[in-house]
Amino acid sequence: MLRARGLVKTYRAPAGPRIRVLDGVDVDVRRGDLVVIAGASGSGKSTLLNVLGLLEDTDAGEVWFDGERVSALGRSARSRARGRFVGFVFQSFLLLPSLTALDNVVLAARYVDRGGADPRRRGSGWPSAAPCSTTRRCSWPTSRPVTSTTPTLASSSGRCGGGRLAGVPSSSSRTARRPSHRQRRVSGSRMVGSKDTY
């Protein structure tokens, strides 16, 4: 389902030569796999997830989603592929403060048209088990404190996008948590970047 070959990524250093963060990485992930990438801070976990999730270009190497060579696509086609194949659960949530909790949940569906019911209706019909169980709280802007709901909302934003590959690009050094109940229901592969193993 996910294949990457010879991934190379370098970053410009403030001084001196460029830093080679990924140096010919090969990855194969099959449907149903749960892959955890572990390593020290600065070892390139987030860079790898960014590259595999098409959030960042590589200097060399190729990425295939379901046999489609997505790394060769143009910017817009890559955005469409990202919306079609990948769901992200950002460690820092990255909720948009100008949107309500519900709009954050269904944000990805606005860009990736997969047919079916209206995304907002689907989002508002989200099970009562979810912390966002009342209409009032769903309509709150996320800039208001709703602390207990935010982690789950973050994972659901990837879910509503319909991506079959869920990743947690981590830009901070927080320890990754065990995937939530909702994450485990995702039917595709999962990759988690963490300093610690489970």
Partner: protein, 388 residues
């Protein structure tokens, strides 16, 4: 629109500045255009001389015999004797933009001005042929003194009843007090000690209808007004004849300063307002760098983001634009009412309002597209990093 409060306020300030400066510019344009339209609608004739009482026509005495001679010139359709006097000769307002004038009209003759056959009355009525001791006043005059129809006005010790108030024309008549010509002649004699002495001495054989400062002359259909004016100058001695096209040129030449001023005001308004709008919109887009990164991570294409930004920027710009225009109109009205004492300094015409909105909308859209193009060049990860 949530979260756009400061952006809308920023745009509103820019558009308010643009609209206010444009409103001042429009006001000056209307003044110049109105004066030009007036002088091109009639031939103005005055008695030769330097009498200060002649006002706009800047001449001397135009006796009844001269008026009869003018009427006989081929091509002339009508001659209306007039008396034009400064309302307050002790002030230094003569021939200034704020000059208040008394205009006496001989209403037994139709007003020959082709562009102003009748001055528009906002309240009450215009003068009738048999009226005496009544006045019709201009809009600025009425508002500066807080008078309306039915109020009393004292001119040279005589009480006048105001029977009408003119609509605002944004030109000279806004500051006119229009009275029957007989009353204007009486005021002239009362104002001018030399004329009074001359009449009392009996040295000059003058009748009441000789006391005219000028006359408005009309021309027959198909006649060239300039040619008729030159004919009058050739055939009637001791008169100053204004050639309409020459007077129009002179008027425009004398308003070169104002034309330059309004061009500068308009340019300044465009630069200040435009920069404010463009800067605010671009800053609003760059502020949301992280949001753009997240949206692209979730699958948004460049076109989708472009459409989104364009829609948002148009909504924000138009909201700010409308807010700015309303602010400018309210402030301009307040300044006109309380600061400039009835003088209208601003004119918020439909073309100005529409122009300001279109200008703001276009500039906002261009600024938003420019900023979006800059943003989508970044990878989603880079956008999220930089916007964090």
């Amino acid at each position: 629109m949530r979260g756009y409060g400061f952006t809308v306020a920023g745009i509103a300030i820019g558009v308010a500045g643009l609209t206010a400066l444009g409103g001042m510019s429009e006001r000056i344009v209307r003044f110049i255009e109105g004066g030009d339209r007036f002088v091109l609608g009639q031939i103005s004739v005055a008695g030769r001389g330097l009498g200060m009482g002649a006002g706009f026509t800047a001449g001397g005495l135009l006796p009844a015999s001269a008026i009869r001679s003018i009427a006989e010139v081929p091509g002339v359709a009508g001659v209306q004797p007039q008396v034009m006097l400064p309302l307050n000769p002790t002030t230094s307002q003569f021939m200034t933009l704020t000059q208040e004038l008394v205009l006496g009209l001989d209403l037994s003759v139709p007003t020959p001005n082709r562009h102003y056959p009748a001055l528009p009355v906002r309240a009450g009525r215009f003068l009738n042929v048999d009226d005496r001791r009544v006045a019709v006043v201009g809009a600025a005059f009425a508002s500066s003194r807080g008078v309306d129809v039915g109020a009393r006005l004292t001119l040279e010790g005589e009480a006048y009843e105001i029977v009408g108030v003119l609509e605002r024309t944004l030109t000279a008549p806004d500051r006119f007090v229009i009275v029957p010509i007989a009353d204007a002649r009486a005021q002239w004699v009362a104002k001018d000690p030399m004329l009074r002495t001359l009449l009392a001495s009996g040295a000059a054989a003058m009748r009441a209808d000789d006391l005219n400062t000028g006359a408005a002359v009309g021309w027959r259909a198909g006649e060239d007004p300039d040619a008729v004016a030159r004919r009058i100058a050739e055939r009637v001695p001791r008169v100053n004849v204004q050639i309409p096209s020459e007077l129009s040129r002179q008027l425009r030449a004398s308003t070169v300063f104002f034309s330059a001023l309004l061009t500068g005001i308009a340019a300044l308004g465009l630069v200040i307002g435009g920069l404010s709008v463009a800067n605010t919109i671009a800053a609003a887009v760059f502020e949301r760098l992280r949001d753009f990164g997240v949206k692209r991570a979730l699958g948004a294409t460049d076109a989708q983001l472009g459409r989104e930004v364009l829609t948002e920027s148009l909504a924000v710009t138009l909201s700010g634009g409308i807010g700015g225009i309303v602010t400018a109109i309210v402030l301009g009205g307040a300044i006109d009412t309380w600061v400039s004492r009835g003088q209208q300094l601003f004119l918020f015409s439909a073309r100005l309002v529409a122009g300001a909105l279109i200008f703001a909308g276009l500039l906002g859209a261009v600024a938003a597209l420019y900023a979006t193009l800059r943003v989508v060049r970044l990878s989603p990860a880079e956008a999220i990093r930089r916007g964090a």
